[in-house]
Each structure stands twice: as structure tokens, then as C-alpha cells.
């Protein structure tokens, strides 16, 4: 052993706090809405709007954040992703300041999927029918989406609204559910990709996103 410990004293690169907060905030929101709360309940809608806010903040950060967090650092580029796959196959390593090209595709896929889920979710439970709305919204707070459809229908003045409300709801629900299932698939792929990359190139990819400080690994 030598006294030259420059490697240990180099700070490990981590994602900035805002990236980590939005990442884990969205993780919590997805887990809560998928596993904990009742589908379409008032709380489900609350969490969904919160998730939308976090995603919007991350997208804003993609425009004005530090270099690695910006879209320009990880453009969606299939040919670079293919080049990256070849690199993996040939066993060479290049370090990427931001997401690697494959990871970047995953990021955009997950964001698109979340956007579809949020858009259909808001369409099913618009602000005017959301659980925090005063007056008539309050009475529906307990029943959530079931209440949201009639409230939305009332607004669409006229007689045929009742059936239209019924018909409009089902494709939205269907898209919402398909997108959610797609999201689960993407999450599984994301986890598999992270585990694969951690085995290939080391723990850095894991520690970069951990929500707590890691400093103990310096020997």
C-alpha cells in the first residue's frame, strides 16, 4: 500500500439534489398509486397531481439545470444507443457525464409514459372535479373519480351528456391502464439496466442516484 490516496480523495460524482429529489419523489408516487391507495380514489388523484408537478419540475430542470441534467447532455439518439450496445458487446468502457445513450432512451420512454398517464388521469379527474375543489367538489371527495365523471358531464350542458360521460370515460381509463402497464415494464427494464451497468462498470451508477450521502466506501 502506498500513501498516494488521490483516488480516495476525489469526490464521487453524484446527480444534483433536484434530480435526485424528483427521481425518488416520482418513485414514491408511482409505488403509492400502484400498490397503496385505491385506484381512482381521492388520494390517488392527489398523488397523481403531485407526480405531475415533480415531472414538470424535472423537465424544467432539463432546460435550465446544470450541464448533466439538461436534455442536451442526453439527446434521444438511437444510433448512439446502438453504438453503445456494440461497445458493451466488445467489452470496452467509455464514461458518460450524463445518462449513457441507452439509459437516455429509457429516460425519454419513461417520461413519455408518465406524461400519457398524467394526461389521461387529469382528463378523468380535471381540476374542477378534483378532490380539493370547494363547494360541489367537496361532496365528491370521498368517491373520487366515480364522482368526477358526473361532475364533468354536468358541465357539458344538454341531454346526451349522461351517455357521453359514460362512453368517454372508458377509452381514457383504458389508455391510462395500458400506459401504466407499459410503465411497469419500463421500470423493470430500467432496474435490469441499472443492475447490468453496475455489474459491468461498478457501483458508481447506483451511488450517483442514492438519496443519502455515501462516503463510507473510501478505504
Amino acid at each position: 500500500m502506498t500513501a498516494n490516496t488521490t483516488e480516495a480523495s476525489l469526490p464521487m460524482w453524484r446527480w444534483d439534489p433536484l434530480v435526485r429529489i424528483t427521481h425518488w419523489g416520482i418513485v414514491v408516487a408511482v409505488i403509492v398509486n400502484a400498490l397503496v391507495v385505491e385506484e381512482g380514489s381521492a388520494f390517488h388523484i392527489w398523488v397523481g397531481y403531485g407526480l405531475a408537478a415533480l415531472l414538470a419540475l424535472r423537465l424544467l430542470w432539463g432546460l435550465i439545470g446544470p450541464p448533466e441534467a439538461r436534455f442536451s447532455a442526453f439527446p434521444p439518439n438511437p444510433s448512439r444507443a446502438i453504438a453503445h450496445v456494440r461497445e458493451i458487446a466488445s467489452g470496452t468502457h467509455t464514461t458518460h457525464a450524463s445518462h449513457n445513450p441507452l439509459g437516455a432512451l429509457m429516460v425519454y420512454a419513461i417520461w413519455s409514459c408518465l406524461t400519457a398517464i398524467i394526461a389521461t388521469g387529469i382528463a378523468m379527474a380535471p381540476p374542477s372535479a378534483a378532490p380539493w375543489t370547494n363547494l360541489e367538489g367537496k361532496e365528491h371527495a370521498e368517491t373520487g373519480v366515480q364522482a368526477a365523471a358526473p361532475v364533468a358531464a354536468e358541465r357539458e350542458e344538454g341531454g346526451e351528456t349522461e351517455e357521453r360521460g359514460e362512453r368517454d370515460e372508458s377509452p381514457l381509463t383504458e389508455i391510462h391502464e395500458i400506459a401504466v402497464n407499459l410503465l411497469y415494464l419500463l421500470i423493470a427494464l430500467h432496474l435490469a439496466g441499472v443492475i447490468f451497468e453496475a455489474r459491468r462498470s461498478g457501483r458508481q451508477i447506483l451511488t450517483a442516484m442514492l438519496p443519502w450521502p455515501t462516503g463510507a466506501k473510501r478505504a
Binding site: 480523495s9 469526490p11 439534489p17 403531485g50 419540475l57 381540476p127
Partner: protein, 175 residues
């Protein structure tokens, strides 16, 4: 190194606070705007909306301002880190060059570097898996080659050059 760890940690705490506030503002803004949107749909333009409008604008302005502030803080922290890394790399080179000039053996140079970093004899012995007696002998030879009598004197040989521009009270009195 210890100072560095302390400073980057405290800087980290500040950026975390700002990031958390920005995230909280975003959540609040989403619910506030959704609520204002519902009011607008229900009541149209009213005094209530006239009040909520500026609040929404200030919320978004707060988010934008906070996000920009956060980016500046992160950029500053990065600049500090790289300056510190450059300085510590330069100091490392100076130390190694000086050790070479004193013709320290590899073992003596290692032990002397640990001593500079603040390890005591027992720690150095443990790190190098040798006896404390060996370390003491190697340190003594390193001090002798450097022409100093103690660890403090060895450290000050390197610190002295970094403090050339700092006025010393005694020097001022002499002048």
C-alpha cells in the same frame, strides 16, 4: 482532506435545502393552479381569481428563481471543488518533488506522507502492516534527510510557501 469533506458536505446541505424548497413550491403550484383553474371554470373571472392570479404568477416566479439560484450554487460548488483539486494536486507534486530531492527511499517517502497527512506512528504502522519501531526509524531518517527535528517542522516546510502572502504580526513589528 478533512476540511474538504466538511466543506463539500455543508455546501451539499445548502443545495439540498434549496432543491427541496423548489420541489415543494412545484407541488404547491400544481395544486394551487389546479384549484384556480377549477374556480375559473366554475365562477369565471371574479375577485377571487383576480387575487389568485398574482399568487400563481409569484409561485412560478419563485420556482424559476429558486431553480436558477440552485444552478448557480451547484456551479459555484463545482468550481470550488475543481480549484481545491487543482491546489491539492499541485501540493502533492511539490511534496513528491521535495521528497525526491531529499532522496527519501520509497518507504521513507510513504511514511513521511502519512505523517504529513496527520497519521500517528501507530496508525502508519497499521496502514503499512509493519512494526511501530520500523515506522519510527523510517520517520527519523526522513526527518534527518529533510533537516528537521519534528513532524511539525516538516509540515511547516510545506505550509510556509503557501503562506508567503499572508502578513505575520512579528514580521510587521520587525519592519
Amino acid at each position: 482532506m478533512r476540511v474538504h469533506a466538511f466543506r463539500s458536505k455543508s455546501g451539499d446541505g445548502q443545495t439540498w435545502t434549496v432543491a427541496a424548497i423548489v420541489a415543494l413550491q412545484s407541488l404547491s403550484a400544481a395544486f394551487f393552479v389546479a384549484d384556480a383553474f377549477a374556480d375559473l371554470q366554475r365562477d369565471g373571472i371574479s375577485a377571487h381569481i383576480a387575487v389568485e392570479g398574482p399568487i400563481a404568477v409569484s409561485l412560478f416566479a419563485g420556482i424559476a428563481f429558486g431553480a436558477r439560484r440552485l444552478r448557480t450554487m451547484l456551479a459555484d460548488a463545482r468550481r470550488r471543488d475543481s480549484a481545491l483539486a487543482a491546489a491539492s494536486g499541485a501540493l502533492g507534486e511539490v511534496v513528491q518533488a521535495q521528497f525526491a530531492e531529499w532522496r527519501l527511499t520509497a518507504a521513507e517517502a510513504d511514511v513521511a506522507l502519512f505523517a504529513l497527512k496527520g497519521c500517528d506512528v501507530a496508525q502508519i504502522a497499521r496502514l503499512r502492516s509493519t512494526a511501530t519501531g520500523t515506522v519510527r526509524a523510517q520517520l527519523a531518517r526522513a526527518y534527518a534527510k529533510a533537516g528537521v527535528g519534528s513532524r511539525a517542522a516538516l509540515v511547516s516546510l510545506f505550509i510556509e510557501d503557501l503562506l508567503n502572502d499572508v502578513p505575520v504580526p512579528a514580521a510587521r513589528r520587525a519592519a
